[in-house]
Amino acid sequence: MDGGSAAPDESGNELESAVVRFAGDSGDGMQLTGTQFTQATAMARNDLATFPDFPAEIRAPAGTTFGVSAFQIHFGSRTIRTSGDAVDVLVAMNPAALKTNLDDLRKGGLIIVDTGSFSRRNLNKAGFEENPLEDGTLDGYRKLEVDMTRMTVEAVKPFGLGNKDAQRCKNMWALGLVDWLFGRDRTINEDWLKQKFARKPAIADANIAALNAGHAFGETADMAREFGSFVVPPADIQPGTYRALTGAEGVAMGLVAGARLAGLHLLFTGYPITPASALLHLLAPLKDYGVTTFQAEDEIAAVCAAIGGSYAGALGVTSSSGPGIALKTEAIGLAIATELPLVVVNSQRGGPSTGLPTKTEQSDLYQAIYGRNADSPLAVVACHSPGDAYFAAIEACRLAVKYMTPVMFLTDGYISNAAEPWLIPDFEDHEPFPVTFRTDPEGYQVYARDPETMARAWVKPGTPGLLHRIGGIEKHHLTGDISYDADNHQEMTDNRLNKILGIAKDIPAQAVDQGQAGGRVAVVGWGSTYGPISRAVSNKRAQGHDVSHIHIRHIRPMPPNLGDLLKSYDAVIVPEMNTGQLVTVLRAEYLVDAKPLNKVNGKPFRIVEIEDALKAWL
């Protein structure tokens, strides 16, 4: 069992890990509160993972359930792999937050509520007939009822804020209390407040006062006795410099790094769409890093501009989510036919169609592998966590330029928004893969191939003596002239396929993440199921079961040893946040009777769900 397992008891006991969720109205600043608690927790050397859960609406009317915004953090003294199955401490800033989050609270867990917000009106808006604080709804949980609103207003009185502004400090009050609860050093929060409100010192001071008041409440009220404060000792963490990293940041920096390692300018093109827009927002300011960003009129224009960029000698990268990727597929075919580098980032979200844009899913695997007209092979790479996203994005860039091919890069809404502490690598340690543009006219043929990679040469327009023309009509396999010849089409079709299959020689053999080759059960995953699979398998292994975890990064082509590896287990289970896509690919490729374990409700797997499913096989 993972997060939620280590029940805090009344004596301020040590915990191996804990899960805290801050939940409130969109206007309550829960994302900031969570991020600040994360900072303080990271400083305390806990390992951690976070997951923000935004409402789908921009700003739903205050107090409604669909306007609830939540931020969850799971931290511990051991390696943390998910944002936690069950919540140990739930901070509910209003009735709607209580309503929508209570289900996830572990029985016996602690609820901290702001009673000041439990007005009749707010109860109604949240759909409570009775006040849940009074009608037994919370039986079986431990609850701490505080009128945070009033106490905050009290605390900030000296700073002369209006009532509305005063009340807006209550998230800091809550943060102070939770900081106290876990023995966090709140200086980092104070520093941040000072910086953020540098130009509005009264606001900064008021927030700090609220923070301190919440903390003081913990210390002075009979809290310690009644609820205990918790100690989560530092984890055994690799020494070095850390930062918090979201998946979107990981991808963004990985792309910048990839372009740099290739020695290229990065042309990043996109059209806003949730959750992919984050990449555009992160890259747009990086003009000092050889990055040009282009917000196109639609996804088609975006991918075409990226291909144009690659044609002209930049690394063209385009990004979207499922529906936008659908629009790009025709143009991706052109990049395949003209054999130009391109990275297509898909930040997957719930579907079909508009679906559940703010929820996570990994249901675009089919689209990535198969979703184009004609025989259109390309490389597919998937990342499995924020930190991994950085390295996987570099890998995608490497394959694109080395093999002159589009690479589909898969991430998802969960990875994009989740954050984890990241041991910052030294860029100088990365292996560069500099591109050499062809400039020598001698013997140049447009589709002549490098014997090792099967890639054609990359020539920048502007190069004297290498004038040529390319396009989407089938081309002669050497000269690049239009060719309707039957044998040539067969040869080019084979070349396109074999070039991609050949990448298999250039990627690491499939490793076993936990366990060993051969045995009873392999749990095989890809993408953001990494955390829950990893923890579920380690829990089961700790119980003495013979189960291994294999996580696939290179989805097209797959590592050459994968087939034999899978066949070395009695059973292969494939958990996916879709109706069973990777499992189909594995079955077709290796004729192994891999079994699907599917979940499509917009939420990541819980560890117990995987553990429960494993029971049938162990």
Partner: protein, 343 residues
Amino acid sequence: MNVQTPANLSPKDYATDQEVRWCPGCGDYAILKAVQKAMADIGADPANTVFVSGIGCAARFPYYMETYGFHTIHGRAPSFATGIKLTNPDLDVWVVGGDGDGLSIGGNHTLHAIRRNVDISYLLFNNEIYGLTKGQYSPTSRLGTRSPSTPHGSIDSPVDALSFALGVNARFVARGIDRRQDHLPGLLARAHAHKGCSFVEIIQNCIVYNDGVFEHFTEKAVTADMQLEAEHGQPLIFGKNREKGLRLNRQTLELEVATLGEDGFSEDDVIVHDETNRTIGGALARMKPPDFPVAIGVLYCAPAEMSYERAVLAQNRAIADKAPAAGDMNTLLHRGSTWEVAA
């Protein structure tokens, strides 16, 4: 292939060794000739020139130009061109496409390339038909056009390419005609000289699927009466004996044709073409036979301070120049809050 220097090239130096695969008699041949002539006149460096096209008969164009060429997909050429210019603004980028390519499937990209003012020369070959797919009507086909997809005649009214361009803030709008070899190369040179998106409609006869639809103003015999060559600073006069001119109807605020010397209409009353004037440009663009001649030449030209990709790069550079640790990757990786974990 050998290294060429731009000096002293003749039109045929811009021709490739590829067999030209348009139908015999197609207007595209004439346009190809005019473009090659314009390239020689300009002294264009083939290695620094890129022809980008979509799909269609017109879009075959790059194969016949001894420059760099990218024959892309249907309707999206302006987007590829935008990516190319953003990557290397020093390239001379020409976009070529048909009326279907540029105004049907590609209308939106044409719109936004114009609006952004990307420094490309967009040549729209308007034959008022889908040539390559065998003759279906297009968004520029006239009402009642019979085609395989409109066997009983089309019933949606056509769009005028130049009015559309002006409606979305085009800063260079011109019209040429395949048959006017005397006029077209000069027009293309003007388009090339314009910094920003130059939009040129070229009237082109599709001899197979739409033969003769333009002959009421392109036939030799009617040229003088049915074409008006707009030239900046010159009065808008036309006709075999240069006897007709355009004036403004004060009532309707629309243009009208009048005969010089009749009803007291003198050369002084003729509107002088001011290519920087959007109202004149718009009115000229809209003129249609039989009541009006077709306006050709540069109808509107008002360059912006900077084209889109130049402005993007200028902004990039300005930011980069100000950035202290410009480009240091480790600085980027460490941005924001970090903390140390000691051994």
